[in-house]
Symmetry: C2
Subunit: 409 residues, 2 copies
């Protein structure tokens, strides 16, 4: 029934090797790796040298190869490979979230033009089948929001820092040793990696394309000992939360650290686990939890895409084709906890609503409702710490104006 | 691209009305209800009387109807409708877990014979897309186990009893008022409902058909105040857990109450929420949480099946067709906490391994490793209370023998 697929694999790092072994150890999937293209032909590798090439044409021009599996680090090179693969009539499976987030609209059109499929479940939250579920399950549902922990290495670091009172840098080093952190750790700790994933998820959840630079990302690299103490004193954890909501015909989204209460469904999500909550009108709150990092979980998601190609699966991007007129916007407020040490950096009138403020040991804190635009300007400074409050939610300018009009009436 | 489906609906109870409203309020799905068949034509209903009929032929013989959506209570009548619908060339969507569990093997063959699809996501854990995920996502993975909370009303009752110190009967009445409990509450509280769902999930997870009567179900109706006190003193919750594991070529499964520690991923699953953990070799532990009861969550799952039929989706039952030689077995042990008031009811030598025992206030407790067969005989008596211990796991006779052989060597 199913056809046997021949794969050309680019990259043999952590995920590539995970895929290789998952494929060796499973019998249910009709696919085999024909050739692997790597950058450094002379590197010692754990499998025979004749499996490798360093010329990309050996894969792209091989007519027997049905699917290019792209698992390299370099986003620009990956995009070039993707385009050439589609041009040569091959399907593509990729886990490169940066490349996808930056070029998703073009990739959508390329799939239509060449009538080939690009699948990327492994790019978003590792083993969690979130894209497939957003695509396949919710087309009939009205999704109002998604939120979750989209990055395994920062969650690992935050878990170690909180539970084992490890230092931040020690926890980061440990995450890298375990293969959870990207080779460039700033992608993780500054919140770029979860932002790329959020941009992709927004397209499948709401039918909107958004360039990653339009999404605010605040990382965990600026969290300090006082923030941790504040969290611990209040029984909170700190999680790096990616979220997006739909309000009217606007879609909002950002990535930022947040204080999370014990009752919150993200509180128990520890170590390299990721989690996604999908809020729909009828199915209500659905939670998906699974390993978001590591070679096997991601390799397994990549393999599930390969498996889907054996029965000609394609993303339908249903919400894009349903007469959607939504647009991405940053015109919204959130409640946040702002820490700063120089009084002139943050002022009461910077807040749309000021909720509380105090000073202790030469540090200042203020909490209140603040615009995304203001958060973005503060986030550019290492001197201001930003953590969203436990009950924060995205409030659009439109909603806020309506509220004010009502209370004035 | 998609065709517009015409639906014939049997039943207009809680889920049927949920479906009706979900369908009215969503625009993305190309389907409409042509006619609704109900039992009592004279009952006052919230929508116009001309939408209804009480003759099943009006639906089954209507050539314009593509899909029969069966949402009635009576499992035998439902199976008759399903067969007649397939014979008349119609696809079937159903949420009747009892009917499915009892006839799944025949339903599998009927689908092949008539080349029509039977979909039933709404039958297992309401809004959680677990069948679709077991079908679509894990074909390449080696699933070793599934476990979870498969029944919303008993979870609601246990939550109220624990958190609000409500009496058992008051909590049950409340669950029924909210529409979470079946019209026959013994299906819920005696663990039959989650057992039916487990039987269905076992087929999609492991490729094995199992008749529900072969699966042991222990309910929550026999939990007493001392069990609750024991749980509270130890910081445990009690959850009604459905589980199945694969070991060698055997598949084991049961439904039973279990003490659950605070760190356990089922501990925070409250009220009518359901949860399923899927344990796979590569994706490792995946958790799905969502509303498992109520008209909208189930209606939404039913609608997602209808939506899937617009692009000719069928369950592939992949694990059944992968040269599977697994069989369901009850030859296993679990660690359990056994409470009884007459000393002759339970004896130390009833346990394969005896771990602890004590007596207090005229009540006796023993914990130890005990066979499923012995649990089944005790479960038949209202005088013996059975709750699985927090770290319990299914240990097959084969594994146990191997252990003994090793320690003897």
């Amino acid at each position: 029934m199913k056809k046997k697929l021949k794969l050309g694999l680019f990259g043999f790092g952590c995920v590539g090797q995970g895929l290789y072994h998952v494929l060796e150890e499973t019998s249910g999937i009709k696919a085999e790796i024909k050739k692997i293209c790597v950058k450094h032909p002379d590197k010692v590798r754990p499998i025979p040298a004749d499996r490798f090439t360093y010329r990309k044409e050996d894969l792209l021009l091989d007519e027997q190869i049905d699917v290019i599996v792209e698992l390299i680090d370099d986003a620009d090179a990956a995009f070039t490979i993707l385009k050439e693969a589609l041009q040569h009539g091959k399907h593509v499976v990729t886990a490169n979230k940066k490349m996808l987030a930056e070029h998703l609209e073009e990739i959508y059109h390329l799939q239509q033009r060449y009538n080939r499929s690009v699948l990327y479940e492994g790019a978003v939250c590792g083993s969690i089948p979130i894209i497939r579920n957003l695509e396949e399950y919710y087309d009939n549902d009205l999704i109002s929001g998604i939120e979750g922990i989209f990055n395994g290495s920062t969650n690992y670091i935050l878990t170690k820092v909180f539970e084992e009172r490890k230092g931040y840098h020690e926890a980061l080093r440990q995450a890298q040793e375990l293969g959870f952190a990207e080779s460039d750790p700033s992608l993780d700790v500054k919140g770029f990696d979860p932002k790329f994933k959020l941009a992709i998820a927004i397209t499948h959840a709401f039918g909107v394309f958004v360039k990653p630079e339009h999404i605010l990302n605040i990382g965990i690299d600026n969290i300090d000992a006082l923030d941790l103490k504040f969290a611990q004193d209040n029984g909170y954890a700190i999680k790096l939360v990616a979220r997006a909501v739909k309000a009217g015909n606007e879609v909002f989204g950002l990535v930022a650290p947040q204080f999370v209460e014990r009752q919150h469904n993200l509180y128990p999500v520890r170590n390299e686990y990721n989690a996604v909550t999908v809020v729909g009108a009828f199915a209500e709150r659905q939670l998906f939890v699974g390993k978001g990092a590591g070679s096997y979980p991601t390799g397994s998601a990549v393999l599930s895409d390969i498996s889907a190609l054996t029965y000609d699966y394609r993303y339908e991007y249903k919400k894009l084709t349903q007469g959607n007129t939504h647009r991405f916007s940053n015109e919204a407020y959130l409640e946040a906890f702002i820490r700063f040490d120089q009084p002139e950096l943050v002022r009461m009138h910077d807040f749309e609503e000021f909720h509380s403020g105090y000073a202790a040991n030469g540090h200042h804190y203020m909490t209140g409702l603040v615009s995304l635009e203001k958060l973005r300007s503060w986030a550019a400074s290492a001197k201001v710490g930003i953590i969203l409050t436990p009950k924060t939610r995205i409030v659009s300018y439109i909603e806020k104006n309506r509220e004010q009009a009502c209370s004035a009436a």
